[in-house]
């Protein structure tokens, strides 16, 4: 079953009179349980495609379906609802809320989804164990290493058991050992829970984990 379907999607950024085609007609289907890598040089459209699949942005033309629902023309609030329920994000920078500790950061999407306190506690505790950070539950982001922060971000993305987790260069700011640890964690979650992962990267050490590699260049898919 397809989690995401992209039909003839273009995305044009306007800056004054200058127009930049970030995506120039992309067609793509992501099936449930995939572990897919988007590769390509900088400016090829990887991040734009992830943002469109993640309902953070809207296409200039074309359609995007998430779990069969057309999300291309949804308003801001409806897109927030889709993100909250079905999409998890992992960013290149360790995108945690600095005033919340590891536990509270993971708990945030559960709170936004209205999950009851008991269930929240159970889920967050399990996830902290899963990512090997039970002893760091009360640490704030500035008290953790980059690798630990990214593992918290993965746990947060996974907390609501989304249909798809989108990761934009998740290892770009990590050393080799931490990068591998993060990729192994993502692989394990994918295998054990079946959650779909799509991640953008141009690091060959990361690409090797992917079971499907989609190559983008100048806003077009050139290899799949």
């Amino acid at each position: 079953m397809e989690v995401a379907k992209i039909e003839n999607v273009t995305r044009v950024y306007k800056n004054g009179k200058i127009e930049t085609n970030a995506l120039s007609g992309v067609n793509l289907t992501i099936e449930n349980g995939e572990f897919t890598s988007l590769v390509g040089p900088s400016g090829s459209g990887k991040t734009t495609l992830l943002q469109l699949i993640g309902c953070l942005d809207q296409p200039t033309t074309g359609k995007i379906f998430i779990n069969g629902k057309d999300v291309s023309t949804l308003n801001k609030s409806a897109r927030a609802d889709i993100r909250r329920g079905t999409i998890g994000f992992i960013f290149q920078f360790f995108a945690l809320i600095p005033t919340l500790n590891a536990y509270e950061n993971i708990e945030m999407p559960l709170l936004l989804n209205g999950v009851k306190p008991d269930e929240r506690r159970k889920t967050v505790t399990l996830l902290l164990e899963e990512v090997g950070l039970s002893d760091r539950a009360n640490n704030r982001p500035d008290q953790m290493s980059g690798g630990q922060q990214q593992r918290v971000a993965i746990a947060r993305a996974f907390a609501t058991h989304p249909s798809i987790i989108l990761a934009d260069e998740p290892t770009a700011n990590l050393d080799t050992a931490n990068g591998e640890q993060v990729m192994e964690l993502m692989t394990r979650l994918n295998k054990e829970s079946g959650v779909t992962f799509v991640f953008a990267t141009h690091d060959p050490r990361v690409i090797k984990y992917a079971r499907r590699v989609i190559t983008l260049r100048d806003g077009l898919i050139v290899d799949d």
Binding site: L56, D57, A80, D81, I97, M108
Partner: protein, 405 residues
């Protein structure tokens, strides 16, 4: 909600000094407003009490044709045989004192200096004259049978360089339009701490004032003092004085009531200016916070936080800043009011015709004013937080994610 509160609280703690200074700005505004309200209230209450106590009383019984601005001494303009009416009124429970008074225009002269005065003929034994008796600075108070004693206010004594025992010449108008002149001895010098009154008012015993002015058994008014301002109307209705009119303190002191209304309008304008400045500080603080945390707003939005909740988060911060500022402000305001209550605020010789203002103001802070200041400050500060909150809520997640550090 708890999480929003926790995040808002921790976000404020991130930049403690800035948050504290923003709250302090509000606190100073609130404290100053409380003090201003208390001063105006204190001044107006003091002026009203002084005027009632010293000049108008709560009620006055007058002849129908009496005009207080003319000091007419025609018998038809005066109250005849006032003691009969006084006796009846004195038996009413809320009445502290009812006493006849005669007002006579005159001039007093000492050596080669003269001054226009208002001679007030009083019954020295009446409780209504306690403020003058208690305000005696030197000498003795009058007695009912004093035939040549006069009591003068401190400013007049200074002007004429008089002391107790000195002799002065008093010329007064009489009921038949002549002028009568007689020598008097200064029995005492008084001060009611109300310059406007003390400067022009001199007292003599009523029988003597009646004799010198040819008014015989008449008085200008019957001055009535009650336990409580609120009882005025009920006592007015209970008094039987056919052929005379009964005037209440609110009718007599229209100027003070109008001045109080004017002062309240004025202070509301000040309140608006002070709170507008404070609101600007709060808006500025929160706008800085929004721009510093653009990427965080993007992250929260990415994980599904709705715009309304993001707005709520910043409004919560604004509320916390406001509550902190209000608590500090109320404490500071109470301390300032308490200090000025102990020490008073000396304003000097103020006072205008028809309104007696004491030379020292003691602030009077009411619960209503405290609540009013608090509610207005809270609402204005919340409104000040709306603009930054809307900016945060309107951010597009993609732009916000890339807008941070």
């Amino acid at each position: 909600m708890t999480q929003l509160f926790r995040m808002a609280f921790r976000d404020l703690l991130r930049n403690r000094r800035r948050s504290f200074l923003s709250s302090l700005a509000l606190a100073i505004g609130v404290a100053l407003l409380m003090l201003m309200f208390a001063f105006v209230n204190g001044e107006m209450t003091g002026a009203m009490n002084s005027t009632i106590r010293l000049q108008s009383g709560h009620l006055q019984i007058r002849a129908e044709t009496y005009d207080e601005n003319k000091s007419s001494l025609k018998w038809s303009d005066l109250v005849e045989n006032p003691d009969q009416i006084v006796q009846k009124i004195s038996s009413l429970p809320p009445v502290i004192a009812a006493t006849p008074r005669l007002f006579v225009s005159g001039i007093i002269a000492s050596k080669d200096i003269t001054a226009g005065v208002r001679v007030i003929g009083i019954d020295p034994t009446s409780k209504a004259n306690e403020p003058y008796r208690l305000g005696l600075l030197e000498g003795q108070f009058l007695t009912l049978d004093d035939r040549d004693g006069i009591l003068i206010g401190q400013p007049l004594a200074k002007k004429l360089d008089l002391k107790t025992g000195d002799s002065i010449n008093v010329s007064v108008n009489t009921s038949n339009g002549d002028v009568s002149e007689q020598s008097f001895i200064v029995r005492g010098i008084y001060s009611t701490q109300t310059y406007g009154f003390d400067r022009v008012s001199v007292f003599m015993a009523l029988p003597k004032a009646q004799t010198i002015s040819g008014t015989e058994n008449h008085a200008s008014i019957i001055f009535i003092l009650l336990n409580d301002n609120a009882q005025t109307d009920s006592v007015k209705n209970a008094i039987q004085a056919p052929g005379y009119k009964i005037v209440t303190w609110t009718e007599m002191n229209d100027l003070i009531i109008q001045t109080e209304n004017f002062a309240n309008s004025y202070i509301n304008m000040f309140a608006f200016i002070i709170l507008a400045i404070t609101a600007t500080v709060i808006t500025n603080t929160l706008i800085m916070a929004v721009f510093e945390r653009t990427r965080e707003i993007g992250i929260l939005s990415a994980i599904g936080m709705k715009a309304s909740r993001i707005m709520g988060m910043f409004l919560m911060e604004s509320s916390l800043l406001t509550i902190g500022g209000l608590v500090m402000g109320i404490i500071m305001g109470l301390l300032m009011v308490a200090w000025f209550n102990g020490h008073g605020f000396y304003i000097g010789n103020m006072g205008i015709s028809g309104m007696l203002i004491q030379d020292t103001i003691y602030p009077n802070l009411t619960l209503t004013d405290t609540i009013r200041v608090s509610v207005i400050s809270f609402v204005i500060s919340l409104l000040a937080g709306m603009y930054p909150a809307v900016i945060a809520a309107r951010m597009e997640p993609v732009e916000a994610l890339h807008g941070g550090k």
